[in-house]
Amino acid sequence: MKDKRRETFPRAVFSRPRSLLDVRSHYCPGCHHGIAHRILAETIDRFDVRGKTVGVAPVGCAVLMYDYIDVDFAEAPHGRAPAVATGVKRAHPDRFVFTYQGDGDLAAIGTSEIIHAANRGENITVLFINNTTYGMTGGQMAPTTMLGQKTATSPYGREFRNDGYPIKVAELLATIEGTAYSARVATSTPAQIRKAKEAVRKAFDMQIREVGFSLVEFLSTCPTNWGMKPLDAQKRVLGEISGYFPLGVYKERKQADFV
């Protein structure tokens, strides 16, 4: 056995996923969009669905994700990606359709669209990036901003009497009948990244088996708008943020209802 292994050496143990383009990204140092993009691309490759995938890009930093993920793409107005994805999926039920949305996009302006897409059991997959702020517009308060967190529009810190509490999307969507899969992951340690990949794999699997709506919430970072060094941002996710937004699988259907 040992000899055989030596014969095939050197062999590739790490390479760029086919679905991830070999270009420089515009994301800031320490931002986790790159990790989430790579997990997405690896999973597209793993299920071999690149040629039948239509992605729906959000409004926010990730609107340019079609410059990095090598599949057919549509843009959507702010928050409307689940409705656009519904239109695509209903037109082509045999295609793989995903949206990729930030917390301003999904949890503020797009709450109606995400809840009703989930409630219809729309057979799409949603990657939800929660970094507790509006990244592209310059770090304003999001519905997911932590209590006490200072942002451009909560300069004295978020205060629940004025702004309410950070909204827990993975838990909220798990209460909806049409949701097949809802999980929250983080990408701040190698172990977390492995679990995140597993969650995205399950979310893809739900769509491919036509079980229903699937969502993976990523606890992400925004060192630029948090005013933190990348490592400190990682620590914030591992401590304060995952303390309020617990990681885990909140819903996992075995099979579709009513089949």
């Binding site: 039948k52 729906v56 549509a74 107005p77 409705a83 656009v84």
Partner: protein, 361 residues
């Protein structure tokens, strides 16, 4: 060939239903909508008739979602339609702007009601500005077709699908509660496509071809300016090639009515009576509100002694008539916001104008 010999039988239907028959004939198999009076016959008809022929009907949670269902279906290469009324059409403006920017075809039906705000459910032509001037942000136009009969509700819907595909742009049918709710016979003439069904830009998954991106974001250097001029050229071409209008009793007309939709329909009755009285009155009826028949209006204004603009609002198309000609002194206006002008009211105005210019009896 007579109608009987052609094998096409006449149908008796509401205008709203005729729109559905026209859409299905034109190959529309995707309809998305949200309930609002006075257009509910349309989603109800589509909910009953699309699934049995393999089509898709889906009731959205809002008009905001509706227009984005359309955006997704259109980006996927499908012929798709929605319908609504004023307040719902307002909610769709965001998506309409995106679709114009992304160059996505679709047919949007506005069976308009009175406004502003919740307004009322009475027929109105108060949405003219919103429809023809680009109701959403950023500056865009779309073909707007104004039927004045159930027959046209059918045929102009088919036309709207072809126009929207030809220009890769949303197109609107602007009706109102009267045209939508009234029943009259119409002939469901066969759909004869004038555009190719090929959509080499549609998102279907990139297997066996280069991947495609449908977007409206242009950040690099002068990309967005180039894109704006490209869109503008489409609107200019529409103005050159797509104007539709009807000349009605225009022979020797010294009083020319300019009216569309229900107001034009009622005007025809008044014109017939006035002509019997010997008053030389006719009508130039814009069928496309965008592109507007400016040249024809200008020609009529040059020849006639008076131009009478009649609208079910306080004067919106009136501005386009003024823009079309320098003969502003000849222009008169009869407005009935949120109500149907009666033939008597129009006749009275025709007689008064005929007296003013010394025409007729």
């Amino acid at each position: 060939m007579t109608l009987a010999a052609s094998g096409i039988s006449r149908e008796l239907m509401k205008g709203n239903e005729a729109i559905c028959v026209g859409a299905i004939a034109a190959g529309c198999r995707f309809y998305y909508g949200y309930p609002i009076t006075p257009q509910n016959d349309i989603p109800e008809y589509m909910a009953a008739h699309l699934p049995p022929i393999g089509g898709m009907f889906l009731q959205a949670e809002s008009e905001v979602a509706t227009i984005n269902f359309l955006l997704g279906a259109s980006a996927s290469g499908k012929r798709v339609m929605t319908s609504s009324s004023g307040p719902g059409i307002s909610l769709m403006q965001e998506g309409l702007s995106y679709m114009a920017g992304m160059e996505l075809p679709a047919v949007i039906v506005n069976i308009s009601r009175s406004g502003p705000g919740l307004g009322g459910i009475a027929p109105s032509q108060g949405d003219y500005f919103q429809a023809v001037k680009g109701g959403g942000h950023g500056g865009y136009r779309m073909p707007v077709l104004a039927p004045h009969s159930v027959q046209e509700m059918y045929s102009l819907t088919m036309r709207a699908f072809d126009l929207s595909d030809k220009y890769r742009n949303p197109a609107m049918i602007l009706g109102d509660a009267v045209i939508g709710q009234m029943k009259e016979p119409f002939v469901p003439t066969p759909y004869l496509p004038t555009v190719s069904a090929e959509k080499p830009w549609a998102l279907t998954g990139c297997a066996g071809r280069e991947r495609r991106i449908v977007k409206s974001l242009y950040l690099k250097d002068d990309e967005i300016e180039v894109h704006n001029w490209k869109l503008h050229r489409k609107y200019t071409t529409m103005q050159k090639e797509e104007v539709l209008y009807e000349s009605y009793c225009m022979d020797g007309a010294r009083v020319v009515i300019v009216a569309f939709g229900t107001a034009a329909r009622v005007s025809k009755t008044a014109i017939q009576v006035a002509r019997r009285e010997g008053i030389p009155v006719g009508m130039l009826r814009p069928v496309t509100l965008f592109p507007f028949p400016s040249r024809e209006v200008n020609e009529a204004a040059g020849v006639a002694d008076a131009i009478l603009v009649i609208e079910m609002n306080t004067g919106q198309m009136l501005e386009d008539v003024r823009m079309s000609t320098r003969h502003h002194d000849k222009i008169r206006f009869l407005g009935k916001p949120c109500a149907i002008p009666t033939p008597e009211e129009i006749l009275q105005e025709i007689r008064r104008l005929a007296g003013e210019i010394g025409a007729g009896r």
